[in-house]
């Protein structure tokens, strides 16, 4: 294992923020795994930390294929993490909306630039990602459906052995993310979504670690034995049904992420926040699996409360 500082910035009163990369093996830049870009992506950092710990042992046992190398960057935003803030400490900008970065720009543009220059040449890229909506997800792997995406990238979604592989049609605001720019640069990029963000889930963390290791094995970067995981159902993000709150108030959920529901099943009630009576009920529009659940107690109107993956693609 080689530990490098791949980018460093200075502030007036804090120690410099060093972004550390851990490299296993040598030779071709085969796969790069990036963890937290935001200060609350604790699960994402923890997944990478465990990958570092595991790969250390695997490398000592000669499991990294000669001529291949893997770099893991557990956290590219220690400053925000240490003060419990999701976005950049000073100006609240989001590093994951700054790619490919700009070396003469503002601090987060420079961080994105410095990071991207050291990771863009890898054959494969995996970002341990969190979504902009707050809630819990079933673990899944996602690829941006762009002109740059290659068919192989889509087919490899099942190499992770996660239950779902999603194709996402990018919105304009996606074009400044790491994943999108990795693809533009020619790297085959994936985003791995674990269940949580600012909470470490032991089981979901292990699921994500195994998924990354499984991918490294499938791509001939790592030689090791690991069970094959789950069958991956590949679908377009648009085929997931969103269920919105038509009323605002307190949320009383009757189902959780992973539950199977039938059309018409009660998913949640909306309770009047001052008077306690039920003012709304939300039923499932379809037979399917609960893929995402909002995890706050209060909801405003139009909030996406559940996402359901229909059993059939019809």
């Amino acid at each position: 294992m080689v530990k490098d500082i791949i980018y460093s910035i200075k502030s007036p009163y804090r120690q410099s923020m060093d972004i550390v990369g851990y490299t296993f093996g040598a030779g071709e830049r085969s796969c790069c795994v990036v963890g937290a870009l935001r200060g609350n992506e604790i699960q994402q950092m923890a997944i990478c930390a465990q990958l570092v710990d595991t790969l250390k042992r695997l490398e000592e046992n000669g499991c990294v294929i000669p001529g291949k190398s893997i770099m893991i960057i557990p956290c590219a935003n220690t400053y925000s993490m240490n003060i419990g803030k999701r976005f950049w400490t000073m100006d609240n900008t989001d590093i994951n909306r700054m790619f490919p970065g700009y070396d003469q720009g503002e601090t987060t543009q420079r961080i994105a630039d410095g990071l991207f220059k050291s990771i863009r040449d890898y054959v494969y890229g995996i970002q341990m990602a969190s979504f902009y909506r707050e809630g819990e997800f079933l673990p899944h792997i996602k690829v941006m459906d762009t002109d740059y995406g290659k068919l192989e990238t889509y087919e490899s979604l099942s190499d992770f052995g996660l239950p779902y592989g999603l194709l996402r049609t990018p919105h304009p605001y996606d074009t400044t993310t790491l994943n999108y720019n990795w693809q533009v640069w020619g790297c085959r990029a994936y985003s791995l979504f674990s269940t949580y963000t600012d909470h470490i889930g032991k089981q979901s963390m292990q699921t994500a670690v195994n998924a990354a290791l499984r991918f490294l094995i499938a791509k001939g970067i790592l030689k090791w034995t690991l069970h094959r995981g789950m069958h991956t159902r590949i679908l377009n993000e648009e085929s997931i049904r969103t269920v919105k709150a038509a009323r605002a108030g307190m949320l009383k959920k009757h189902v959780s992420v992973g539950d199977e529901v039938a059309e018409g099943d009660l998913l949640c009630e909306i309770i009047h926040p001052l008077e306690g009576n039920t003012i709304g009920r939300i039923m499932s529009p379809v037979d399917g699996t609960v893929f995402f659940a909002y995890n706050k107690q209060l909801v405003m109107e139009h909030t996406d409360v559940f996402n359901i993956v229909p059993f059939s693609n019809v």
Partner: protein, 314 residues
């Protein structure tokens, strides 16, 4: 007349409401043939537009007989942000100016964006007033993307600003309010001026004259107001960017809005422990110092100033 533009329920005993003030006089010769919208407050910490909107509303209401047409004033596109000193849309991760045209089936912020576009649609002109953030002070300027230069530059020249900055188009900017409206045929000018969280009265008066000038040019206002200055246009000019490489405290050494010569000191970054100058920022070219850092604490990478280079003779 104050009218609601977008309404949605918040969790506890409150509605989210975006409002506008419609000032109209249908008695004129061109009876309500034209409509101009003045919009501000997409970013909740940008307040320069507050005073412009307030004064414009007063002038137009008091002089209604000199108006022939409609002026819609939207002082707070992001009302929760303004009321809570928050740049973004509270409880929503994305910049509100990255989600237009919004969606009637989206989250509350996206529905609000959709409602705003629907409301402005069909207007002859829109002026979208932004301040800078709290970090930088800007001279009054209009920002126009290259692709809209032909349609917008003649109007930008009438707005009584100091500068028109024509910038390259970027995919990520396709989801701004201005881009969305321009694509729909509503000529929309983006104004940037002053500094975040503050009101610069002289700039507000200057822009107010410019807005009244445009209303006169469009034939819907016959009252006071007019142009007193012609802006520099960035075309064929370079913009010099000055960033800090060190962390420390920035002390400006040149006046904002002044003309500087190559090699002039624009400011210094000092070490607060020792008073030592850790960096002196020199002008890389001669020109207008149109951006100057307002917030003293700087990190490596912080933008300190921008200079619009003079046109070289011969």
């Amino acid at each position: 007349m104050i009218k609601p533009v977008s309404v949605a329920a918040l969790p506890v005993a409150e509605n989210f409401v975006i409002q506008k003030n419609r000032i109209e006089n249908n008695a004129g010769p061109e009876a309500a043939s034209k409509r101009v919208c003045v919009v501000t407050g997409t970013h909740g910490d940008e307040l320069e537009g507050q005073y412009v909107c307030a004064r414009l509303a007063k002038i137009l209401s008091d002089g209604k007989q000199k108006l022939s047409g409609i002026v819609d004033i939207y002082p707070a596109v992001n009302p929760l942000g303004i009321d809570s000193v928050t740049r973004g849309f509270p409880m929503f991760d994305l910049d509100m100016n990255r989600i237009f045209p919004g969606s009637s089936s989206g989250s509350l912020a996206e529905v609000a964006a959709h409602d705003i576009i629907r409301d402005i649609d069909g207007a002859d002109m829109c002026i979208d007033i932004h301040s800078s953030n709290i970090f930088l002070r800007e001279v009054p300027q209009v920002r126009v993307s290259e692709q809209n230069e032909g349609a917008l530059l003649p109007f930008a020249m009438m707005l009584n600003v100091d500068l028109v900055w024509i910038h390259a188009s970027a995919t990520v900017l396709e989801s701004t309010l201005a881009h969305t409206l321009n694509m729909r045929g509503v000529k929309t000018l983006v104004v940037e001026m002053g500094v975040g969280m503050r009101i610069t009265e002289s700039y507000c008066s200057q822009l107010l004259d410019g807005i009244l000038n445009i209303l006169r040019e469009l034939g819907i206002w016959s009252g006071a107001g007019g142009q007193t200055r012609t802006p520099l246009v960035s075309k064929d000019r370079n913009v010099g960017f000055l960033n800090s490489d060190a962390g420390g405290i920035f002390i400006p050494r040149a006046a904002h809005g002044s003309h500087v010569n190559t090699g002039d000191s624009v400011g210094i970054v000092i070490d607060p422990f020792t008073g030592a100058i850790v960096e002196e920022t020199l002008a890389p070219c001669s020109g207008l110092l149109f951006t100057l850092r307002e917030y003293p604490v700087v990190f490596g990478g912080s933008l300190l100033a921008r200079i619009m280079e003079d046109v070289k003779n011969g």
